[in-house]
Amino acid sequence: MIEPEQTDLILGFIPLTDSAPLIVAKEMGFFSQWGLNVKLQKQNSWATLRDKLHAGLLDATQMLAPMPLASSLGLGCAKVQVITPLVLSLNGNAITLSEKLHQEILHENNLAHVTLPLAAYLLQKVISVRKIRNRPKLRFATVFPYSCHYYQLRDWLASANISEEDLDIVVVPPVNMVAFLQSGEIDGCCVGGPWNAKAVRAGIGLTALTSFDIWQDSPEKVLGLLASFQQAKPNTVIALSAALKQACIWLESIPNRFEAARLLSSDQYLDASVDVIAPSLIGSCLTHISMPPRAIPSYNQFSKSTKNAASDGSNSSSNNSSINVPEYIRGEWLISQMKNAGQLKDIDVPADLVRTVFRPDIYHQMRLKLEDQAVQFFRRSG
């Protein structure tokens, strides 16, 4: 077993469905198994979560996958070297349209109903008619400038040659998304769970497609911590990653997923009903109040990619193709998305940036410890 240099840790999280690994690790006792006493601290915005991590007020935190790169480049903040030893989840976002925009799409395209996943070209007519009639541009919301949500929304629109000049893209905190969809403040949004399901259950939105329909199996949330923290406390980081990895493995089973939904629903975490948390966790995408849900088995992925999950039913932690490895290629992909979005203009991106931020080396050290522990456990019980 490993001896963490620091046992009392404060971890930040944003109340979203894919914060499940942190909550499960806490509630199922995985942190304590690794000798850690973790306090989960709910955060209200990504920017403040980031600043608290930089200032050492949080020891580690759930982060949007592009955020450790943005911190290390000093985008929107002072430059601070943040690393990620573990990917926490894949996919999990969706694009939800207001009921008003849904009706506008049907009307302008002479359709009786839409086919899902919704093709972005159906928006073209709406955009051009609004232009001709001098009506305001469509307004879509995302959650943060350096987020997959933003890049996924851009990609979906680009698939129909819709540029950011044809509509407005703004940032809205997830807690305000549903109200703004209803009030007409925004016409659509790309957001994580449980907010899409909340909009559908309330009858005010159509979930047009999930992020899995746009990018298959891309990292969504990662564990972020300061490079200086890892240098000073390498064992703590390994123990923390191991506990979270165990939670991710635990989350692979669908029966466990429903239990996770119940844990998440409590006031101290998501403070939302199982009705809106469970669906995406068990692979169901609620679409519209009058339409059946879609089966999206990879809606939330925490440990294995769909391919592996289908062929290999065991919970082996030695699976090298695990989605939790912060592979360089994932980081390079995110950098290319940031570049496409024009966020790296006038920025010197060091050639080794991804290698200093994405740390598969720490992941692999952790995996060995996890295997050791499993072997010892079987010896003891055998």
Binding site: N44, S45, W46, A47, T48, D51, K52, H54, A55, G56, L57, L75, G76, C77, A78, V80, T142, V143, F144, P145, Y150, I169, V170, V171, V172, P173, P174, V175, N176, A179, F180, S183, E185, I186, Q343
Partner: protein, 211 residues
Amino acid sequence: MAWKDSLHHTASPKQQKNVIPELRILLIDENRPRAESLTSALNNSRYKINHLANQDMSLLKQVDEIQPDIIVIDIESPSRDILESLSTISHYNPKPVVMFSGETDTDTINQYIESGVSAYVVGDLQADRVKPILDVAVARFREFQKLKVELSDTKQQLASRNLIDQAKRLLMKKKNLSEDDAFKAMRKTAMDTGQKLDDVAKTLISFLNTI
């Protein structure tokens, strides 16, 4: 009639120059009693809390409509991410942002906020402390903006000096001129055609490189 004289006196143009313009504040705080005490603390100052942010309306729209000079926000507000996007996604003009927090250790966090200048974090906003805090935030923001303009001016000057040097060297090489003559030729062209020296240099470079 003395009072009339003094009235007349305060309205003189010279005095008017010293009248400090009013600064509009957009306050984002869900704690209403605190917001009200701030508003009254700033009575009779150059700061006017025109608007208490309305949760049901997007902050972007409010920034658009109110055009605040300063944004004051609770660091724990979910709207913090909207402010973050103002300059990146939405390309709004930068504005001084003052963040406050009743709980967090603000001294540490302050070192890490973007440049510590355009945003400034303070402890809990107490009515008696608020005015000097806003003064400092506005002053720091202006200083920062000034530095930013100076930096981009310097960059611009460096770039044009490079262009002029490059054109001069090309002229010397291709036309066999001395350094002094090459520069004089460029300056003459600039004066004759009413162009800037670096524009002449640019044209020369592309011309001399094609022949």
